[in-house]
């Protein structure tokens, strides 16, 4: 491993000043960064360890009915916070469907947003990758790419964003609170992650030194708590990234959909908010036929980036299943297999 400077700042301004230098990176839970460093995928000159910064590990209920989650709150702590899980059950389900218990104990909210793609070519330092070395080319194109993007990809990059957590968050209009050299600003999660275009190395809205200090959920986000689910198709039922996933929240009155939220995971370089599908759902009958139409709309622009056409059909089906599950109502207890399709059908065994 290459030598690097290790800095443990005492305050957020100190952290930002230290991380604004070229070659610097923040360290929080380290569940992704340390692996990347050991594999030689990234070689920062300077590690700014923010894990002991005060006040970033709090979950705060705001007077306006919203919620503010500190960037250093651990995934496990958030998912197991009873009030949080009750208000945002799909977010809790997404968190618990990700990684392993050990990783969730270490991984942070801010780090989850900033985790890197699991494209195996990004990790294969022997070959080119436009994310690692801009302009070197994309090896995933024409390679082993059955799990790659079907929406929003470019010829420069077909990688996906791996987060589960971000999928219900983007559906619920989460906002990222960022502190930088010029003060504090708010960016919606939908705008926070970028599609690859010609610059896949630019993955988000952060500028040098910028620190994610919190994620906010607006008041309305809790209004879906009775009808919200996150479901995930994966190659094994724990410790696996999504092949495709979906988060849905519904508000239904008299059989008609009053409001709907829908987002997809595992399909693009960002958590994919399906606004056009939400428009289809709005005011329509809450039934499978409507959900199928919404799924078609959500995937209307999808195209395979390689050997992955099957993901488009899988994504349609996970959208329908997730909306059906949301319509059936949030289970009283989080399923024993969080986000598994095997716990999605009404009456499905939760002890499977």
């Amino acid at each position: 491993m290459r030598d690097f400077d290790y800095i443990r700042p005492a305050s957020i301004p100190d952290a930002i000043a230290a991380a604004a230098e070229p070659g610097a990176t923040y360290l929080a839970g380290g569940t992704n960064l340390l692996d990347l460093m050991k594999g030689g995928v990234t070689s920062p000159d300077r590690i700014v360890d923010i894990s002991r910064l005060p006040d970033l590990n709090r979950i705060e209920w705001l007077v306006d009915g919203g919620l503010r989650i500190g960037a250093l709150v651990r995934n496990a702590d958030l998912a197991h916070d009873t009030s949080f899980a009750k208000a945002y059950p799909a977010v809790a389900e997404a968190l618990l469907s990700g990684a392993s218990a050990q990783l969730r104990n270490a991984a942070t909210v801010g780090g989850n947003l900033l985790q890197r793609t699991r494209c195996s070519y990004f990790y294969d330092t022997a070959g080119p990758c436009n994310k690692r070395e801009p302009g070197s080319g994309c090896t995933a194109l024409g390679g082993e790419n059955r799990l790659h993007a079907v929406l929003g990809w470019s010829n420069a990059c077909i990688a996906t964003h791996p987060s589960d957590f971000c999928v219900p968050l983007v559906a619920l209009d989460a906002v990222v609170e960022i502190e930088g050299r010029n003060g504090r600003r708010h960016v919606t999660l939908e705008e926070f992650h970028r599609l690859p275009g010609e610059t896949p190395q630019r993955e988000n809205a952060l500028e040098p030194g910028d620190l994610v200090v919190a994620v906010r959920l607006p008041q309305e986000a809790a209004s879906f708590s009775a009808n919200a689910r996150y479901l995930k198709v994966r190659e094994r039922t724990s410790y696996a990234f999504a092949v495709v996933s979906a988060a849905a929240g519904l508000a239904v009155e008299g059989g008609k959909i009053r409001t709907a939220r829908l987002a997809l995971g595992g399909v693009a370089a960002k958590p994919w908010r399906a606004r056009s599908a939400e428009a289809v759902l709005l005011g329509a009958d809450a039934d499978e036929a409507t959900f199928a139409r919404a799924a078609d709309t959500a995937l209307a622009d999808a195209k395979p980036s390689g050997d992955n056409a099957f993901k488009i059909e899988l994504a349609r089906r996970i959208v329908v299943r997730t909306l059906m599950a949301a319509l059936a109502g949030t289970p009283e207890r989080l399923p024993a297999l969080p986000a598994s399709p095997f716990s999605s059908i009404p009456g499905a065994r939760h002890d499977a």
């Binding site: 195996s120 390679g143 696996a240």
Partner: protein, 720 residues
Amino acid sequence: MTLELSLNQQPAHSRQGSSIGQPLTRRDGFLKVTGAARYAADNHPAGMLYAVLAVSSIARGRVASLDIEAAKAYEGVVEVMTPQNRPALAVDPDAKHHPFMFRLDLLQNDKVRYANQTIAVVIAQTLEAATEGAALLSPRYEVQPARVGLDGAKSFVPAAVGVGNPAVQHKGDVAAGLDAAATRIEASYETPAQYHNAMEPHAIVAAWDGDRLSIDTPSQGLAMAQGRIAGLFGIAPDNIHIRSPFLGGGFGSKGMISGPQVLGVLAARLVGRPVKLVLRREQMYGPVGHRAPTRQTLRMGMDGEGKLTAIDHHARTASSTFDDFFEPAADASHSLYASPAIATSHEAVRLDTGTPLFMRAPGEATGSIALESAIDEAAEACGMDPLEFRLKNYAEVEPMTGKPFSSKALRECYAQAAKSFGWADRPVEPRLMRDAEGFLTGWGMGTATFPALMFQAEARAVLRSDGSGLMETGAQDMGQGAWTAFAQIAADGLGLDIDRVEFRAGSSDLPNAGIAGGSGHTATAGMAIHNAGAAVIARLADLATGDERSPLYGAGNAGVLARGGRLYRRDDENRSESYADILTRAGLKEVEGSGKSASDPASQEAYAMHAHGAVFAEVKVDPDFGQIRVTRLVGAFAAGRVINPRLVRSQYYGGMIWGVSFALHEEAITDRRSGRRHQINRLRVKQLEPDAHDQHSSRHQRPEPCARRRAARHAARRAA
């Protein structure tokens, strides 16, 4: 507080009589759960340096340059070993004097023949410095196109498959059998390349003292490893001491000493200091063996009653470009089902990969998944239940050789497992079962078989005047409980309670216990232990029965029983004497005996010897996503005499879990352009994709693993 930990620290096992057959917990369990068990890489002799492999990122070509200066300039780097300065060997690593002598990559030249082949070794003061030194080598290559996949090269018929089996074998007239059949099936199956990747990677700590060599390394065969290293370095095997008390899994990959282990020894020689070398997880894909991919085609013919008239099993597999190991997949059809005509054949291609080797278990795993799936096809073609079809074609003698089985209780396994599972309620037509939640439910079953192998081993037994015993044999415990099972055999062999027996194993200075492989170690080393016990008891009995001061005087050897540390007259158990008294009176501190074991050629000639089992599975399939959950597994096994039922139970579980993993999980992904492994840090798990799923599950109730995308099956069925 100090914790005194040793293998013999046990909760007291107070029992009367035999230790064999008792469900003892692992004697090494306490050491392992407390982290006190010392694995190879836990050793740190004084002055030790760290070695890290630099491995090839290309699959074929040559190393054109390495920036050795940059690596050596890095602080802490002591030396870089390349083909230019690698210490001389007494034997060419590419020499092959017998089939078990596998070629090794020991920096003999600049050629690259697979991805992850070692191209240099960096030795440094710290692991971190060695790792960075290896990265700084920045190799440049002359690249040649990699040959990847079962169609990646021209095929040929190998001289032998597995361990010296003929590649092509037959009995009877398969063509005539197929012609005469009332029903025929033909089915193809692919199995992917798979890698052992045990929890403990291959690791070595090597220290030279003149021409004496001390090694800590995991090995499934200490004497073989000792012999191979001795040959390479031109020293006497006795000059090498290998300690291998614990293995964090072997599965065949630690059967033969591997290239990286020898490179650790070379590195120690080069720098004149002890060196530790541990493979990184991703470096396990290449130089330490794997299970080769296969593509198998089976043709079967059945008469009007569903009896097989012919089995034709053909397998295509792959080996490396530079050595010979061929997965004997088709040989699975030799021993399970009765048929008047059986033909098995193999062809192979040579690919730019590391040499495939033994992986639990070569031929049986890959071959039986194809054979058992084809048997299901045949049963369906005959309109028969899969179990009924298997019973109809039950082999009363070994089908290929006609030899009687030494024992076979497969029928009982089928019956017991079917009953526990509730198989009788299974509908014959596919796709009829759904659970309350709408998931498709499938029931399936398969047969397990493995030859009962035995190799050669030796053991040494000592009885001491304090009434305790010692048993020594260079056996290995890969984690399955050999420390415990062998101690149980030793206790019975010595006529002592297990707590009075010191058992030593896992070291090459002990009697040669052969290889922990082929599921033959307990039988082999266990028999040597038993015989060593009998030998030392006979010596002790001589002392007693020849001494008129002993109550056993005149009893003769045959007239004495050994139990609980005493010898008893067989005809009068009121007359007995303790081991301690016998030895003390004879003025001896201890008495010693040795034992050997080997398979009996006459029995081998006369009998087919196999263990058998039956496994039944219930699988749920999500009809929309093809995602699979295995909800129930029931197995019944006839595996011979059980030394420790607790340990054997976990072996059964392990075998069944390996079967599930084989069916559903494991596939090593290779980039078809570079020949490099991808997804190498994680398991790739397959699911039925919707298109494949619809196509296949319409015909098969069982969501068979072979319906996976990559293991696409092309089962053609025709009725004559």
